[in-house]
Assembly symmetry: D2
Homo-oligomer: 112 residues x 4
């Protein structure tokens, strides 16, 4: 895959993950069992933040894309770990999207 | 069009505009005639910033989506006005994407 | 007060408010009665986000400072309204800081 | 120094650096010799972005403060390296503030 396509794929993955994290976040806040979801609320906000930051960095061809994506991988994996423990559909979906994003970000760590 | 689709469309339009603005920004910085492009550099950064902010607000169903999109419209239109004055392809493209985004954001001002 | 001082004051107020909102947010997430604090969690995140955005816009002398500060006022007031309903100290403190920030932002709406 | 003070110091250092970077950025854009300042424009934007991101992460006691501050150190050092090559006062000042921020951020890498 060439560089331009790889950037495009990763920007899209980060945007989708930001979206899934924030949907999960908002849904958690509405759950009856909100007290069980404290860590999920914390980590989806963190993950949405770095995904948005990473996507913007990639669109401006930041010299730090590799480092930012490395950080994004870490946050995506932690968020997925936490979401997988939950039984809500929005958590399960968020976990899947985070794992996929981490995988795509890995490709960027050797590109930029 | 229903609410959910309208959100989805507008999030995507904001992401595309953030991308086009940052591509234009980076390209302006490489131009020989960079001195002619000072305002373009300023306004594409501003526009990329609000588009990213608006997209993230929409994904978390912010209560301020209408206000944020109203601000996004204003910045998209100004950025398009400036980019249209330039002859570079990246400026022309950015202007088009900004105009379209402003139009789609208008729909959000009556939704949220 | 001259322009430069007014900017300095408002940047500082926005940073303090971002800080108070996020401290309140984190504290709410740890409360036993988290279910009562859903709106507070939502609004402190929103308010922290616009305060950070406004502060950064002011430091780069954005042409949109007046509009961004107008939006910041609205979010600070709503966040204060919600926080004042709560009995926790972190909420009371957050409300005070938000009100003061809204007042200082008002000065920026006629400056930029 | 205790943890709370260390956070407070680092948040303030990041805010000051974000400010110095954006002041330098805006000043570079107005310089006659703008063509000499392309890298400075690029790196001050990057550095302002991560400083703002780091400060917000610290105010919400992010679990990733150490990683984010490590990235902030890297961007502050690169920005300082570039700004030191320039003769403008705003570049010299920015370089100093970036170096100091990097130093303070180092303390956070062992705290969080």
């Amino acid at each position: 895959m060439n560089n331009e396509l790889q950037y495009k794929d990763c920007i899209e993955a980060c945007h989708q993950t930001m979206n899934a994290c924030n949907v999960c976040y908002v849904s958690c806040l509405k759950e009856y069992d909100i007290a069980m979801l404290r860590d999920c609320i914390t980590l989806t906000r963190e993950c949405a933040g770095i995904c948005s930051f990473a996507a913007e960095a990639m669109t401006r061809m930041s010299p730090y894309v590799a480092d930012i994506c490395a950080l994004c991988i870490k946050m995506c994996e932690s968020c997925a770990d936490e979401c997988e423990k939950q039984m809500q559909d929005h958590c399960k979906h968020c976990a899947e999207v985070c794992r996929k994003c981490a995988q795509i970000c890995r490709g960027m760590c050797y590109v930029a």
